[in-house]
């Protein structure tokens, strides 16, 4: 049970009022939220300091134009925030930010994290052609019923971590009567303090409702289906070649990945260009080789770098111009690696990234 501020307004409007209250009461100096760009359903993150401008805010909109974890890291890479800012982000964005903070790529100081129980986001390709606007009513219906929303990103449809970790404030959406009321769960002390003085009814509530548990089960089942798909990387090298054969090497997938924070990716660096002599020896062996080389190396290499922290946000699949189901592969393979170390990325900022620590007695099964 935790403290809940209940407002008798629809969820979207309730959150807008919350943001307005936070800004106008001076509890925060700014608000980061999804904001409407046009009426076609295109949104982007904006940082807002003038409460008038909140009229275009769409804090709960089911799109992820960028993984906000990456954006928050960029805000705080050089130094921590000097003034408090409230951010409304999806659970996996918050997890990604925590992973980045653990890697010293940002600071948590002065953030007020607002998140929600999340039914997923739509692929970006339908964000600006008016399609999203048409799907919205079905989306919110699914949210109310606690169903998997149709046509969302594949990794959203099997995401288990839709109940946010580390949020100060969590908006209950799944299975709730979101047209009539907005339930603002105050999950930390900071969250409680921040709404002091705001109008509403202070009650007790449970975030992990039966609807939430049911959705978890539905997604587990969906995950099995998605991962067992034989087209998904089970035949070793030939499977890899099949899947990544059409990769054009744009490296967009690492560019948008929140965990890939390197400003110069090692796979874009000169170190990974072949020497002429390498071409020669490779050609002697094979009589032919793909140009540019190292496609498979890039993908397995990236798995070794960030698989342990992949939050399954789905950004990589979304930007891939040749429709490679990257996030499904990364979530599947990364998930196995995470399980080896009993690790849930972004769950706790204190828990170290497993590859940066060790136990003296462990893993003897990998030694020969």
């Amino acid at each position: 049970m935790s403290k809940v501020l209940r407002i008798s307004k629809g969820a979207e409007q309730g959150v807008q009022e919350l943001l307005k209250f936070l800004l106008e009461s001076g509890k925060v100096k700014g608000v980061l939220t999804l904001t409407k760009i046009n009426n076609n359903g295109a949104v982007d993150y904006s940082l807002i300091t003038n409460s008038e401008m909140l009229k275009d805010a769409l804090p709960l909109f089911p799109l992820m134009p960028a993984n906000a974890g990456k954006l928050l890291s960029r805000f705080t890479l050089k130094s921590a925030l000097a003034e408090p800012i409230a951010v409304v982000v999806k659970p996996c964005e918050l997890r990604a930010f925590i992973e980045l903070v653990k890697r010293e790529q940002g600071s948590l100081e002065n953030f007020l994290f607002i998140s929600s129980t999340c039914d997923g986001v739509y692929p970006l390709e339908i964000s600006s052609n008016g399609e999203v606007a048409k799907k919205l009513s079905k989306y919110w219906d699914a949210v109310k019923k606690g169903d998997i929303a149709p046509d969302i990103r594949p990794t959203c449809s099997c995401c288990k971590y839709f109940l946010p970790y580390n949020a100060d404030i969590t908006i209950a959406l799944i299975g709730e009567n979101i047209d009539k009321e907005c339930k603002i769960f105050l999950t930390t002390e900071k969250g409680k303090k921040s709404v002091e003085g705001m109008k509403g009814q202070l009650v007790e509530g449970e975030l992990k409702t039966q609807e939430v548990k049911n959705l978890l089960n539905k997604r587990e089942e969906n995950k099995k289906k998605l991962f067992d798909n034989p087209a998904l990387m089970q035949d070793g090298l030939s499977g890899l070649i099949e899947t990544f054969g059409r990769c054009i090497g744009c490296h967009g997938c690492s560019r948008v990945c929140p965990i890939c924070y390197c400003t110069l990716c090692t796979f874009d660096s000169k170190d990974y260009e072949n020497e002429p002599s390498t071409y020669e020896t490779e050609l002697k062996k094979r009589g032919g080789m793909r140009v540019p080389p190292n496609t498979i190396l890039y993908h397995i290499g990236r798995l070794t770098h960030i698989g342990i922290s992949c939050v399954g946000c789905g950004m990589c699949t979304d930007v891939c111009p040749v429709d490679i189901p990257l996030s499904t592969i990364f979530l599947k393979v990364g998930g196995e690696v995470q399980q080896t170390f009993n690790y849930i990325p972004g769950k706790s900022v204190e828990e170290k990234v497993p590859l940066t620590i060790f136990e003296k007695e462990e893993l003897t099964e990998v030694e020969d």
Partner: protein, 141 residues
């Protein structure tokens, strides 16, 4: 056909232990197959998993990473990190359905010349049975 197959094993050997162990095997005139191409590294933890993948994709039939026994690393704890990274890479190989037998982690100390010879012999046999690395003939890597 398979009997003629002489595997190539790339060995990343830690300078302080396993490389010295290999030296000892040599000076003790121990017999072992000439399948291993040793690469000397300052510590097993110097081996980025990407090195292993590179060797594998370039057609090495197997890749061995060898270092000091746990507790004996010259840099105190390097090999503990090696083991975590290796476990991670192994899991990736397994999940992708790749032959994880083609990568191996072993601890061989400077005084274990016979163990070095044994590891190379056993591993060579194992890889002989497995046959050549299919990556050797692939063009679209």
């Amino acid at each position: 056909m398979k009997d003629d197959f002489e595997p190539t094993i790339i060995g990343f050997l830690c300078r302080w232990c396993s490389y010295a162990g290999a030296d000892l095997a040599g000076t003790s005139r121990l017999q072992y197959p000439p399948s291993m191409l040793p690469i000397r590294v300052m510590c097993s933890s110097r081996v980025d998993p990407v090195f292993i993948i590179t060797a594998f994709l370039r057609g090495a039939d197997a890749v061995l990473v060898a270092g000091c026994h746990p507790g004996d690393c010259h840099y105190i704890e390097g090999n503990y990190y090696t083991r975590r990274r290796f476990a991670c890479l192994r899991k990736i190989f397994e999940t992708l359905g790749m032959e994880s037998d083609r990568i191996r982690l072993s601890w061989i100390s400077a005084s274990e010349g016979p163990r070095f010879a044994q590891v190379v012999t056993d591993y060579t046999d194992k890889i002989k049975k497995l046959g050549p690395n299919p990556a050797k003939k692939e063009i679209f890597l």
